[in-house]
């Protein structure tokens, strides 16, 4: 697409999204804020899975790290929304470095298993560290995030929506810029042909770790939004079902795309809320069916990449 047309399209979408507080009622606006947060996290997972060729089954751990970090910051340090966001991102980076340092040394199925294990261990850690996280009951009593006085002018829901939109737009923009940067191209190179990248002098493990850190930091930012929206976070926020939900968003939106998973994320969160009265806890059945249908009928780039990776190895 012509870059100028693309620029106009992005501006138009942002403009339409920005006027939503004047169109939607508070309930729907709140829902859309949540959808945007999950869309951002799905895009970060697509960056890892599609662009980096690193299939993670434990991405919700980053949601949890971001959400708990933001929540704990809100309770003990500052009510400032930006401050909480920055702490969450920093926590996401640290967590990505700690786990990714091991994970990127594994290949193929081992990466899949390792990330799945990290996801489950994160849930266990959140459940058992009762003193810090509140255990099974979750972290409650979190004060509302202060939105730079914006909520004095408009209702809090609208102010929060704008804050979420800004964070998601910036996070998504960062993902796109990084994907197209020299580092992003190196990440794609490490996915396509590890041996050649190494021969060219790239530190392949380091490049992969960078991809994990980028995806983790962006996902943690989404997690902070989830916590700020509900002023609550519990181990259920990071359990494996959430990782799977994020993966369904990626499969549905297209593994090679970043915008696709973002849109699919918003759509699935809205769909889940709309059907919740009719479906109740049967939503997971729908999620499983969607997952199976996506794998059967929507083959995307990933298994192609996978085959090429297997050949390269």
């Amino acid at each position: 697409m012509n870059p100028r047309i693309k620029g106009v399209a992005v501006a138009a979408v942002l403009a339409v999204m920005a006027v939503m507080p004047y169109v939607l009622d508070p309930y729907r606006l709140d829902l859309l804020s949540g959808g945007l947060a999950y869309g951002l996290m799905a895009a970060s997972l697509a960056f890892l899975v599609g662009h980096g060729g690193l299939p993670s089954l434990g991405h919700a751990a980053f949601l949890g790290v971001g959400a708990y970090a933001a929540g704990l910051t809100a309770k003990h340090l500052t009510a400032n929304a930006l401050g909480q966001l920055l702490v969450a991102i920093a926590a996401g980076v640290v967590f990505a470095l700690l786990t990714g340092w091991f994970a990127v040394r594994t290949k193929g199925f081992f990466f899949l298993m390792f990330t799945l294990a990290i996801g489950e261990i994160a849930v266990q850690a959140a459940t058992r560290s009762t003193r810090v996280t509140g255990g099974d009951n979750g972290l409650s009593g979190i004060p509302k995030a202060e939105l730079f006085g914006l909520d004095a002018v408009v209702p809090y829901v609208a102010a929060f929506y704008w804050w979420a939109l800004a964070v998601v737009a910036l996070g998504f923009g960062a993902l796109v810029l990084l994907r197209n940067s020299p580092l992003g191209r190196a990440v794609a190179g490490a996915r396509e042909n590890e041996a050649r990248m190494a021969a060219l002098g790239y530190h392949v493990t380091g490049v992969r770790l960078a991809a994990v850190v980028i995806a983790g930091a962006v996902c943690a930012a989404g997690g902070a939004l989830v916590e700020q929206k509900d002023t609550f976070v519990a181990p259920t926020h990071l359990e494996i079902g959430v990782s799977v939900l994020l993966l369904v968003m990626v499969l549905l939106g297209g593994r090679d795309s970043l915008a696709g998973p973002l849109v699919a994320g918003v759509a699935l969160i809205v769909l889940r809320a709309v059907t919740s009265t009719a479906l109740g806890d049967k939503w997971l059945l729908v999620e499983g069916a969607l997952f199976v249908i996506c794998v059967y009928l929507l083959p995307g780039g990933l298994q192609g990449l996978w085959r090429r990776r297997a050949q390269a190895a």
């Binding site: 594994t106 899949l112 294990a117 994160a122 799977v244 499969l251 806890d281 499983g288 997952f291 990933l302």
Partner: protein
């Protein structure tokens, strides 16, 4: 003394993990499919028993009957799984793994919908519900014995029988095996069926040890995965050693340092991956 009891609990848990992990590791070795539905199959065994006999203790004969029924259910589910994966053969291994994940969600949600999401536990069968040597639960000893028996049988089948030789050959060099006139596809099907049957059986065996509840499937799946990451893929010896190690780490960890138990598992897995990236008994590709 208390620590010794906990360590013994760990052996029982390890025996259970072995029954689960051995199928997972062999299915992977033969088909290159990571069966992420293995935890859901375990869960199916537990809920099947719950639906048939409820939470009250039953006689040993009935319990064994249910366990055999679980084996049959495992064979059926394994056949279904094998049929579901087949269209994706040639589409790459990751898609197959993702498909099993989707099927796992469907299966476990179906089970939770047909019972409920709350906690349930099976009672140990009459005769094994008492304790031996003072106060140690007899059922746990029975689980250890069952685990040992299954481990022994698996080793015997793999090392001493023609069927086992075919499976080993199919792991090492499927093309050459096919060239000698063996139907490799049938060998693969056999391993999937056996692995799934063992997983569902493990669900009945573990019913009196681990509470049935929502999320159980991922919990046992992850533990089984850690076992084969530690032990090495497609290695029975690795699965046995890994299961014993993880059984101890998890049980002792939860008993001694409950807040750190989760990190302990991670530490063990990370240490093994650093020391021997292919697992303790894994082959380096």
């Amino acid at each position: 003394m208390n620590l010794l009891v906990t360590a013994f609990d760990g052996i029982a848990f390890g025996a259970l993990l072995f029954v689960l992990a051995v199928g997972l590791t062999m299915i992977f070795g033969l088909l290159d499919v990571l069966n992420l539905a293995h935890g859901a199959l375990y869960m199916a065994g537990g809920y099947l028993a719950l639906l048939i006999i409820g939470e009250a203790p039953v006689s040993l004969a009935v319990f064994i009957g249910v366990a055999l029924l679980a084996v049959v259910a495992g064979l059926v589910l394994g056949g279904g799984l094998s049929a579901a994966i087949r269209p994706l053969r040639g589409r790459g291994h990751l898609d197959q793994a993702l498909l099993t994940m989707g099927l796992a969600i469907l299966l476990s949600e179906f089970l939770l919908q047909s019972v409920d999401r709350g906690f349930h536990s099976l009672a140990a069968p009459i005769g094994l519900d008492g304790s031996i040597a003072g106060s140690y639960p007899a059922y746990r000893v029975a689980v250890i014995v069952a685990g040992l028996a299954i481990a022994g049988a698996t080793f015997w089948v793999f090392e001493k029988t023609r069927a086992g030789a075919l499976v080993r050959a199919a792991v090492d060099d499927p093309e050459m095996l096919a060239a000698t006139g063996v139907n490799v596809r049938r060998v693969r099907l056999g391993v999937v069926l056996a692995g799934c049957a063992l997983a569902v059986f493990a669900g009945v065996l573990g019913g009196p040890l681990l509470n049935l509840r929502a999320g159980l499937d991922t919990e046992v799946l992850v533990l089984a995965l850690i076992v084969i990451v530690v032990g090495g893929l497609a290695s029975i010896r690795g699965a046995a050693l890994g299961a014993l190690l993880i059984g101890q780490v998890q049980t002792l960890g939860v008993a001694l340092v409950p807040e750190l138990a989760a990190y302990l598992l991670f530490a063990v897995m990370a240490a093994v991956l650093l020391w021997r990236p292919a697992g303790l008994f894994g082959r380096t590709a």
